[in-house]
Symmetry: C2
Subunit: 191 residues, 2 copies
DNA sequence: GTCTATATTCAGATAGAC
DNA sequence: GTCTATCTGAATATAGAC
């Protein structure tokens, strides 16, 4: 177990506060107050408020892309790949719910050129999902899906998962959650 | 066709700008500039910036609840009800994409007591969906679903739809969109 | 690393004349 | 309904002493 530095404390405190109040509504003073020091000290750890957002967003985005790339490059069939992508998403959301919340809710607050960079990363992720779905339709494991709609729907249908882990009150078993979500995405609700 | 009043112009302009930049990032000066008059004139139409948000959020929420209540009170079977709820959601999203975008992205910016009021409305909507699902499980048209997870997943899986109509560039046929979404929610992706 | 002090900018909102 | 002018408060960020 690594002893957390004060910079890491500062970043985690920022992350928690931004989750509670939103990025724009969270002031540097709010963060400093919770750190029990004056605003000016915050700038010992970061160069600007934007830094906080960029750090978490790009780091977590990389985590999603890394998992997706490994899965796509594997020899699994398309349906198995989809299972793995969903599983990976749930795992990241359970492990870093606040970071994922930031990705879902605060990416609009990035400023160019980081904004454009981030949107490109997201578009790229959607394209990878679309490729996976096309592969499955081609090999016949998936139905004749509308790729764009299905891709949007699947990604949206797992986007809320972080919320089950962002507050201490919520404690869904991630294994059961995965089983349920995969059951629904693969087979739907009808008996 | 009703001739739009200047107040309606003002509100629509506000809605469009908030969609583009986000609520907090949109200033009263921004809105006034697009209306081609001075900031102070804005207060001829509203009493505060919060008013704009409250107006659209509660009005559109009511539209969703109205549709949901009528469907629940009907004699349709649970699977037919679910179809209708999804259909209604798509119709509202296609007709008022900017209002729905506001509901998805900006509700956190409400202030108490409106904030709490709005969260209660959303919770109530989720409970209605849960009731619908329980009914379908009981009558056997749906599988033995985990109600909480399924409810969250279905609502999330249609939440992105407004995005297909918020920009002029995007023009998905809502009938086809509905067919695809219902196909996925009911039967999943597997062939 | 911590503080005090402050520069700078900008936001929401109001008063009052035309 | 429109403007000019202004109040009031607050935000990000920096300078410089200890």
């Amino acid at each position: 177990m690594r002893i957390s530095s004060k910079k890491e404390d500062f970043l985690q405190t920022s992350l928690q506060l931004i989750h509670e109040k939103g990025f724009k509504a969270t002031t540097m003073r709010d963060i400093a107050e919770r750190m029990d020091f004056d605003v000016s000290n915050s700038y010992n750890y970061i160069k600007s408020k934007q830094d906080i957002l960029e750090l978490f967003l790009f780091r977590t985005s990389e985590e999603f892309h890394g998992a997706m790339d490994n899965i796509l490059a594997s020899s699994y069939t398309a349906d198995e790949k989809l299972k793995q992508v969903i599983s990976a998403h749930i795992q990241v959301s359970a492990k870093r719910p606040l970071e994922v919340a930031l990705m879902v809710n605060e990416w609009r607050n990035l400023k160019d050129p980081k904004y454009k960079e981030y949107v490109d990363l997201r578009t790229s992720y959607e394209k990878k999902m679309a490729r996976l779905l096309r592969e499955g339709v081609k090999t016949g494991v998936f139905k004749e899906l509308n790729i764009k709609i299905t891709s949007a729907l699947i990604l949206s249908s797992i986007r809320w998962v972080y919320d089950s882990y962002a507050d201490a009150s919520n404690t869904i078993n991630p294994v059961e959650l995965e089983r349920q979500i995969i059951g629904l995405v693969f087979g739907g609700v009808i008996n």
